[in-house]
Symmetry: C2
Subunit: 674 residues, 2 copies
Amino acid sequence: PLRRKHDERSLAFADLTREEYLQVQRYLVRQKDLDISTNQITKPSQNFLFLIELSLPKKADALAYLDGKGAKPIREATAVVFYGKRGHIKEYVLGPLPNLTYHRDVTKERYNTELHINARTVTIGEYVMIFTCIEEIFSKLGKLVKESFDVGPDKKLNAFEQMPRGVQSGDRKTWISFFRDMAGMYIHPVGFEVLLNHGSVNASDWKVERLLYNGQYFNTVEELQQKYDAGSVNKIVYKESPDYGSLKPRSTPLQIGPQLFYTEGKRYSISHNHVLYLDWSFAFGLSSLTGMRVFDVRFKGERIIYELSVQEAMSVYGSVTPGMILTKFLDSSIGIGRFAHELVRGVDCPHEATYVDTYRYFDVPAPVRFRNSICVFEHNMGQPLRRHFSDFFHNSYGGMVNSALVFRTITAIGNYDYMWDFIFYQSGSVEAKVHATGYISSSYLVDGSLRHGHQVAENVLGNIHTHFINFKVDLDVVGVNNYFQTKDMQYVNVSLPWMPDRYAMVPQLVEKQLTTEQEAALRYDTKTPRYLHIASNKTNRWGHQRSYRLQVFSFAGDHLPESQPEERAMSWARYKVAVTKHKDLEQTSSSLYSQNNIWSPTVDFSKYIEDNESIEDEDLVAWVTTGFLHIPHSEDIPNTVTVGNGGGVLLRPHNYFDEDPSIHSTDGVYITPG
Amino acid sequence: PLRRKHDERSLAFADLTREEYLQVQRYLVRQKDLDISTNQITKPSQNFLFLIELSLPKKADALAYLDGKGAKPIREATAVVFYGKRGHIKEYVLGPLPNLTYHRDVTKERYNTELHINARTVTIGEYVMIFTCIEEIFSKLGKLVKESFDVGPDKKLNAFEQMPRGVQSGDRKTWISFFRDMAGMYIHPVGFEVLLNHGSVNASDWKVERLLYNGQYFNTVEELQQKYDAGSVNKIVYKESPDYGSLKPRSTPLQIGPQLFYTEGKRYSISHNHVLYLDWSFAFGLSSLTGMRVFDVRFKGERIIYELSVQEAMSVYGSVTPGMILTKFLDSSIGIGRFAHELVRGVDCPHEATYVDTYRYFDVPAPVRFRNSICVFEHNMGQPLRRHFSDFFHNSYGGMVNSALVFRTITAIGNYDYMWDFIFYQSGSVEAKVHATGYISSSYLVDGSLRHGHQVAENVLGNIHTHFINFKVDLDVVGVNNYFQTKDMQYVNVSLPWMPDRYAMVPQLVEKQLTTEQEAALRYDTKTPRYLHIASNKTNRWGHQRSYRLQVFSFAGDHLPESQPEERAMSWARYKVAVTKHKDLEQTSSSLYSQNNIWSPTVDFSKYIEDNESIEDEDLVAWVTTGFLHIPHSEDIPNTVTVGNGGGVLLRPHNYFDEDPSIHSTDGVYITPG
Ligand SMILES: [Ca+2]
Ligand SMILES: [Ca+2]
Ligand SMILES: [Ca+2]
Ligand SMILES: [Ca+2]
Ligand SMILES: [Cu+2]
Ligand SMILES: [Cu+2]
């Protein structure tokens, strides 16, 4: 039995449907002057419809609609077109769906700059050309690649690219490392890397600028080939490699582990993109770029969160070899949500979970359905949410098991798999969590490698790297007019009231209200107050400001010195928490173009706080960074485990309710002696 | 089907049986010269057998026995006798069980000092006298307590004591605060507190030294009574209080939440105090004082941990009123394990868990059985332990659900309930976790109260306080000869090998070996390296030192300025992690006498590192402190929830195995496209 009703207004946040993607696609193709191709292997020199996504409604419009004070916001889509013919990228807003009548170039409005074509994500169309290049190189080096890597007509190597693609704005020069064509290729590097300049949209202008073979550099394919043939190169002699990257079980199933069952049915319900779970309700969506997100999160009908969303996943690597020496991955430029693939029942989520399909249009000729790419389930956390046993005075027991709703996607972005969880607790808390699993990135071991990690297999270095994750947390605590407050303790020397000449250090509460964006940008490298709150000036029954506290769980490393030209594209990672005044135009902390134009980022988060606006009595957004330092070790073979490799943020009521709302849960248990 | 066999040698760590407690009791009573009473209400002026516990074997003896190189260690007990007649406390070791022939006074050996009788825990015998005192005070204040608190023949108040009991060594002066006799009395303070000097073992010498009524102090009961009757006191007028502390469910059960089932039976087994779970095995016990502990933890037969145990739970409170102004609880002095009561099926642990009884002898006339006071279960954590989906090149999926074994007790020490979990993962990690729930402590709201917390009910302040927990982690990594090493990252400016005049900041691995105990005492208030390892000089397949990493999860506040005379009794809390050379005589970081002789602690952890011994190639013990700052809020009513209120330490293999051991789990799943 459900306590609340589904609300179709959640559709304001729903991802585009298959039909809507097609409407946008058809509309754009009809604009003959734009000259857009939808062919998946469109060459970079042509104009390509790269991406179609929901355009989120303006917050004010959405709120008016949700709260019954305004019309349904016009449904719009964003389209990204790579204009290879014209050398730039354009973003359009198109509407109104379903019968489109307009498209508006919003590039300037959103980014305040033109977008150079080289800021684009590498498309399938460009990869086809890159692979052709690689084949040419390999065919020129036939003898070398055969002797070194056993490459031949029926055996090839796999490629893995370094990003960013160069060292300065305009560069599109990618170091490509080669790996054995085996399961978990990412941990089978062969010691061969190639620097390809693919800065032109025409492959005829492309050039191999450098090669690395067994630790030695060569300027051209020919130089390597000649020196190899001349015997002046330290040769790698092919040797078969054990299949240590395989995930095939090495033991036969004996007895299955504990399983979860809903013995009395599900206590949640999903209708379209709207979820009901006990006192909770929320809308959800999945951005191809940034990944999963929820909107209009309410508890007992009262909105607590307007938006909770994944923003970016960033990793910086260390190495002596070019394949990882400069690597700084910014996953939303490749598409985080794009890689939310089918979840496996009983492993990725419990058997009894509900699985939801999503549709995306990202570097494809037509919308694609991703079956079972979101899962929703209630989980028994295996522990009490609260309990007390009283053996003094009142002999009794009261308690309640911690059952919570989990909303999950897992995105397999190349080597890594990130598991994203939003968890809804009966105590009114919401948690955003991320865990990393999948394969580490690795390099072929050469002199000096061990300064950057540990050896994890024969000739294989697991490279040291960071994981930084950014979440957008747009809490609306009793409306949008909020304050950012901190609380902590300090010892104060006080005289004891009953013996005034005796002093003791006694903990006191220290409260502070931060007034501007710069004050509210809490750097990772500084001591921050232990309690961080988004508060209303509305008070609870006891006169305290109602608030939600942000508790950040993180084991982050150092993001990148600000001296580095790539740093501004990840300036969100400077801060554990940064609070800004909400703006529709500050929708994300990163962008699709961060990776490939990392030196002149279209979105530089630090700019959001540069104007140092007041954050008192404003609609506030908290940008939360979590992560962990990863020093790979032998147990990362074959896969990194989730245990201990994660982070997150817990949003917890603090003087928001008048008492713990879980006291009203029907899961409560109470026992008195016979 | 079990993979390993139970090992009866685990009994070397087993708690005393009922019969063994009785053997010790009988033996001591037979020693007429000791003149010991076992009557539960023995007066403090008499000699009382307070505690009987297992005496742990010396580590060298236990290891020799476990490894088949030595005889079974002689089984011994420790007994604590409060010699009221003689003014001191004695600890004895008695053996050999079951046929005792000797008792040895080990007080001096263990503590290097005499133990004054006032260092003792308050016994039931003393409480009976305290309650008599309180009754006398109440009867003298008949009119006041009737009018203020509705106290009468059939209605009383409940008492809650402040600790430490005074401000200097020798003091035994306790502020007793009064609370309504309602469910969750801890959150129903009435505004009446009494300072009782019970320093003498004879109640006839006891004295009320001060009283606090509605924020005003009085020197004697008579003074209060007279001033009250004269109308010169600001009166509290009794008013009924809503039952907000009740844990009775306020809603009717509708539909139960998800439940866990072992559809193919249990995958673990318990025999005596020995647990087998897949590749894991361990022995367990429950100390009445320190709580739960495991020994000889092995993975695939290889010992990883010699001892993992709870050591201490400490809280420091802030207040303007005496009832909490000096409060510093050191729970092991009251007995942590002592309060491990029956666990409730389906709330405290899943229905299908295995429940184990324990026997204790602590301030009792005879051993007591605590039914179902430990639970053991395998839990489906609701997420993959590892997984990878590959859509490039090799289309396949490999993964494994995270099923792990949980070993749990919950100790309800007065107002608070601590949930203690040791979790054994299939990836070779062990986690020690603690969560707090139960009632907060509170005070009656007076002027200035809000400097020390938030109001949480009418006239009720939830007092700010810390939770600090200490774990003992005696890892033995490939034997006892270990090293303490740290790893972290740093950015180093390096020239790019293929364009040497271009520089970039690149992450490097920074490794360090700490050489002495003082170097290895990592203070909470300093930046500590991100990776902490107990390492062997034995290497894994790739030449790296085999190690276990300690990853500490903590939100601790500030423990107590070292200027305070009470600080040395909790000096373990200075350090996030401190590594010492193992000594049998440094068995615990705290002691039974810390609370009541806090100013001259018998165990001062900082002394363990004062001699600054070498920790290279030694048997090392890591003492790990975790905790959280608690600023109470309305949602702490009626109970604090476990979500977000905890801490712990994860012990994870790091270059210990040659690959992730979970790859050999039978839970692995692998899917390739049909
Ligand atoms: Ca701003
Ligand atoms: Ca907001
Ligand atoms: Ca020492
Ligand atoms: Ca050790
Ligand atoms: Cu990693
Ligand atoms: Cu607390």
